[in-house]
Symmetry: D2
Subunit: 141 residues, 4 copies
């Protein structure tokens, strides 16, 4: 599990006075990118060096408590499923300012090269190993 820290910004609020729900999707991506930075192959290297994209296949968010401007967030991100071809990531969005679980979420991703589905096992073995280790950690935690 990796924890990504982030402050809720003014420009993310809406007229209800709270953070607009669309921003959580961006925070999840930031946390996912942060996790990959620690796994040895960054998201940017995956795209630029290996020419592999990792589009989002599905996304789900359960909003539990409002987040407000200035709140300190910790986004706990972990690998839920992984088999080389499909990656499932789950997220706890924790509001440290209010000591509340603000939201839980998950996202599902595949891997594409030249428009075709590929397995990371063959394409980037070191990243494949990192995801498998992360998966083991996250299921035994």
């Amino acid at each position: 599990m990796y924890t990504y820290k982030r402050k809720a910004q003014f420009h993310e609020t809406d007229r209800m006075g709270i953070i607009h729900h669309s921003n959580y999707i961006k925070w999840m991506e930031e946390a996912r990118v942060g996790m990959m930075d620690l796994l040895g192959v960054s998201y940017r290297d995956m795209e630029d060096k290996y020419r592999i994209g990792s589009p989002v296949v599905s996304v789900n968010v359960d909003y539990k408590k409002y987040v407000e401007f200035g709140d300190e967030l910790e986004i706990e991100v972990s690998v839920k499923k992984y088999n080389g071809a499909i990656l499932e990531v789950c997220y706890n969005i924790v509001n440290r300012t209010k000591d509340q679980l603000a939201a839980t979420a998950w996202s599902k991703h595949c891997f594409l090269k030249d428009g075709k589905l590929v397995s990371l096992k063959h394409e980037i073995p070191e990243l494949d190993r990192s995801f498998r280790e992360e998966l083991k950690k996250d299921t035994t935690e």
Copy 2:
């Protein structure tokens, strides 16, 4: 069912050359707001005249086909469940330029007044009736 029309914008693209997945959440809201405009009580009136907010409780998107800058979209929005207290809306995001179903999605909403859950049946009977009629239409279509 209501169909909301929208063009995919340049500022919505990302470095993969496609529309960033977070924007679909915004489009769903635009379509939902558009549907309510036709139901007799606009989203803005609900908030400003009746002091009722309708926060998003959950959201789910299944991305099926890329959308690109300039693509013409039709977002079909319909009421899936409704009981006065909880509203579930579902969406087909259709790419008219490519004649493809780009994504399916749903969102779940509650109704709040002064921070407390309320039923629209008591608070805004005419909107309650409209949602029930919409629900009937959408389940018999």
Copy 3:
């Protein structure tokens, strides 16, 4: 002059209850893209067929009156300066719901091919002609 029509969206509001100022920059782009659609070479074709990008060099906005959720906007966009290499576009953001000038703005653009500055006169003569005609119209209006 071309007029681009647009509704102010819920997801564009902020906790002051008004449209967040960063969105005006996106509206200006939408209006600019809409203008180019009418000039015979779309922004997307410029990028995809001619491999020419048109980055923003400077941008300036003077905010005059608040815009609120649901307000109907008309963005009048016109060519202020153009010499083949540099394009200056100006904008009046008119709030039709309140019959107010919400903002005035301008943006300055250059043209790049393979990372080098180019003149549209040589690269896309028909678009060059369209911009010159637009410039003439806008200065004689």
Copy 4:
């Protein structure tokens, strides 16, 4: 002068493969909010405790060098003009990854209470003093 640090995010990129220009406006706000956190009265307190809003009157950005996904940014923010009623803030957006000045910018703000222009001198004397000290520092630096 206050320096705000920030990484350029994937969701901020566009189909040119660079950070979309509209995001700089959001970064400027984040830096401004960060500066105020150090001045003793946070932006949120100004709004929530003192009921004073600080809308953006004008904004200007000169884009100098592209910023890419993953680039480490330092946004140097300083007070350029201040007289109690009007605040002008200027920004250097420095790309630390590429050791480049990515953009320079400024923004102009007024102060509003109950919809009327007010002077911070009377409304929040301690914030007024902080802005004046900041102004002195920034003009003598």
